[in-house]
């Protein structure tokens, strides 16, 4: 193979209707794409009214990371929690976080509960973003909720885990935590 020390080829198609069929039928297909660089950006931008991107992986050695796992792998996971004494029938903040500058925070789940040995009628947990309760749940002593649709909070918005218990008639130590990941804007 020849060596091309400085080689650029622009592949640019402009038209009203472009179809590029690539059909490879063979008992053995190798389609190698090797990028060896200090930094590499492979940008694929598709702008269309309707996009179907079908990728079929059938090899068990292929790893496809979900967003939560991927951002954890990238070191962008975020978890926060706290304790607070909460009076009976009073909504009390257990943990709060202002989404940092330049970030969008995705909330994957939250947990709350009683940290005291008491038997309330219920303990109510609430995820609040910017003063709006977005997810509420109740159980007797506490629980956790994993969100199948992560909740999104923008930079500067306040996320709170709040708890209310009722039935003991007294002040109880409660706890709440939240987890997810941050993405750079």
């Amino acid at each position: 193979m020849a060596d091309f020390p400085d080689w650029t080829r622009l592949f640019w198609l402009y038209g009203t209707s472009i179809t590029i069929p690539i059909n490879i039928e063979s008992s053995d297909v190798v389609l190698g794409v090797s990028i060896d660089a200090v930094t590499a950006d492979l940008d694929v931008t598709i702008t269309a009214a309707e996009v179907t991107l079908a990728i079929n992986f059938s090899d068990q050695s292929v790893a496809v990371w979900g967003a939560a796992a991927w951002f954890s792998r990238q070191g962008e996971q975020v978890s926060y929690g706290g304790f607070e004494n909460a009076d009976d029938a009073t909504v009390t903040t257990m943990s709060s976080r202002t989404v940092p500058s330049g970030k969008t925070h995705y909330i994957a789940g939250f947990a709350w509960g009683l940290a005291d040995n008491a038997s309330p009628t219920y303990v109510y947990g609430m995820l609040e973003i910017k003063g709006v309760a977005v997810v509420m749940f109740s159980s007797q002593v506490g629980n956790s909720v994993t969100l199948d649709v992560p909740m999104r909070a923008l930079a500067g918005e306040l996320v709170r885990i709040r708890v209310k218990h009722e039935g003991t008639g007294g002040t109880q130590k409660c706890m709440g935590s939240c987890w997810g990941w941050d993405e750079e804007n």
């Binding site: 070191g75 926060y80 706290g82 330049g102 306040l158």
Partner: protein
């Protein structure tokens, strides 16, 4: 008022974990750890996220494991 290093981390996002302990007087003890910065920050804050937020005390948590754990790790890393 200029931000403290711990506040810069709170508002800049350079942490993975935040623990809060709310105090009877309304202040809160916050510890932030993880992320690209190896040290942690332990702060005692009044009016957290509020207009008059004030860091009362701030302590840096040194990076890495405690010295005795580090010593054992180094011994184990040398092998038999």
């Amino acid at each position: 008022m200029p931000l403290t290093p711990g506040q810069r981390r709170l508002y800049g996002g350079g942490y993975n974990y935040m623990q809060q302990a709310w105090q009877p007087d309304g202040t809160v003890a916050i510890m932030v750890t993880g992320g690209k910065v190896p040290i942690g920050h332990l702060m005692h804050v009044r009016d957290l996220w509020g207009e008059h937020e004030e860091v009362l005390t701030e302590v840096v948590i040194p990076p890495g494991p405690p010295p005795w754990i580090q010593d054992r790790l180094e011994q184990a890393g040398r092998g038999p």
